[in-house]
Symmetry: C2
Subunit: 318 residues, 2 copies
């Protein structure tokens, strides 16, 4: 029987999404299991294999799975391991995830990388970057991740951990502390968390009126809603966020001369407020030879499928 | 007869160095011609071909030249053209350099790239980066150039112009104007020109004693000599220069996770004063996972041969 299906798994801190995907990028079956109820990896892998076998049976796909792709925090493509992932209860040490899962799945090959790299492969295989050989994917979620594609291949670097653009320096002096321990990282400003932090800081530092003042615990979604209502402070927060991101994108363009920057993730949904300041800062800060030449595009994948598709795309390369 | 020789040409603003190189990286014959006495490219190419034929005859290498590699400012690997090179009298418009030279040399294939990329290929083929598949070459000359190698290949990007790390932003606010028109570029601080500029600025801004005060027109070499004499301001200038470079290297590591950073060029000869501040800033600013793991090395190529070797190495890939 032809092996023309793959499985994609997106391992998150709370839940893991799994799906069976065909060559056209249709998710033909999917399920979700909890990630955070396990203290060690073995019972999680056992439960994961059970869930996969369930959807394989459901899709009548026995013997048709060519490979399994996994996107996971701190996933290393070279070693197939998850290493020191702070958000995974069982991931604090080095976990041989790909090997363990393959063993549980009767030897179906497993390929693993971090979530942002998986998103980049997904975008190249099924999404907005189809046909592109040089682009940079920036995921604007709780944090800022990145997947860099050069010559049609994801950049893994010497050790498998390349593409940490969220931790390049956006604010050199007196920058905010980032979750990684450094100060001034892009992630501390241009993630969903960063936007909420900007709002809280600005509210504290001024007495400018804003509908955000009435809220108890501000999220980036609140800032988005306020911006839609025309709230001046919320609009300025997006301008500030877009400018910082655009300035750093100029640096990234000078590194790898991509055809496009692809934005993805929860915060990218605020594109109506982000696009203009990003483009303005990016083009003002990049060398003239790239000015107004590098495209800024948004992921075209259906959000609910994107994580699974991204991970599954890895499996086609197996 | 076996074709086991290549030619390397380093096109500079004033002179162009040419040499015949064997597979072990020995320059078996070489010559230099002027670049700046021509207003159009055709007579320059004619003179260049004549010079090459002369050294080919001298080395008894007729019929043994496998290819010609050229390193030139704003050289584009994809198109073989030199585009808008401000330092080349005949290079202001687009010049089909590789095609023209190949025609003059009886169809010997010609490969062309910018000088920093050529240096990176040279370092990988004959020098300090031999055997490395992931490294970043930074050339600290009059300006700051870069050649990025990922998976054993030079990064050319979507358009052939990737690797302009000298024009990434080192000082975001009130940064110095750079020759490219932008402000705060790495090149404006960490090139030979940048070091001289720091000296002039600091002398003007303070009345701290320094032997540099007695000089009429300060160069980076003067600053180096003064530092060797123990001059405090000169030593602080190198500390400042090294710190700025180290801070940016941290960003670059987070992009492509290289095994090593390779420094090359006139200013790199001041390594006794630069190494410590570079490493300190690089390791303080990079994510913990790369701290004290990425090597900082200096080109091991003989300076007089390096430009020819770098360009010639391109030709082996033809």
């Amino acid at each position: 029987m032809a092996q023309d299906l793959v499985i994609g798994i997106d391992v998150g801190g709370q839940t893991s999404k799994c799906g069976i995907v065909d060559a056209r990028g249709t998710v033909v079956a999917q399920t979700v299991i909890r990630t955070d109820t396990y203290d060690t990896v073995e019972p999680f892998i056992a439960e994961l294999a059970e869930a996969l076998n369930r959807i394989i049976a459901e899709a009548k796909a026995e013997g048709q799975i060519r490979g399994i792709g996994v996107g996971a925090p701190n996933g290393n493509y070279y070693t197939g391991c998850i290493e020191s992932a702070p958000n995974l209860k069982w991931g604090h040490n080095k976990v041989e995830f790909a090997k363990l899962l393959s063993e549980q799945m009767n030897g179906i090959p497993v390929s693993l990388t971090n979530d942002a790299n998986a998103a980049a492969v997904g975008e190249m295989t099924y999404g907005a970057a189809r046909g592109m050989k040089n682009f940079i994917m920036i995921t604007l979620g709780t944090g800022v991740g990145s997947g860099i594609v050069i010559n049609g291949e994801v950049v893994y670097g010497h050790d498998g951990f390349a593409g940490e653009l969220g931790h390049t320096c956006a604010v050199r002096h007196n920058g905010r502390q980032c979750g990684c321990g450094k100060h001034g990282c892009l992630e501390a400003y241009c993630s969903a968390m960063g936007v909420a932090r900007t709002a809280r800081e600005w509210l504290e530092m001024s007495d400018e009126p804003s509908e955000l003042r009435s809220l108890d615990r501000i999220t980036s979604k609140d800032v988005y809603e306020a911006a839609k209502d025309g709230d001046k402070m919320a609009l300025k927060i997006f301008e500030f966020t877009g400018r910082i991101l655009g300035e750093k994108l100029a640096d990234f363009i000078e590194f790898s001369a991509p055809e496009a920057i692809v934005l993805f993730g929860g915060l990218a949904r605020s594109k109506e407020f982000l696009t203009e300041p990003i483009l303005e800062a990016m083009n003002a800060n990049v060398l003239p030879l790239w000015r107004n030449k590098v495209k800024l595009i948004y992921s075209s994948l259906k959000e609910s499928d994107a994580a699974i598709l991204g991970a599954s795309a890895l499996a086609w390369e197996l």
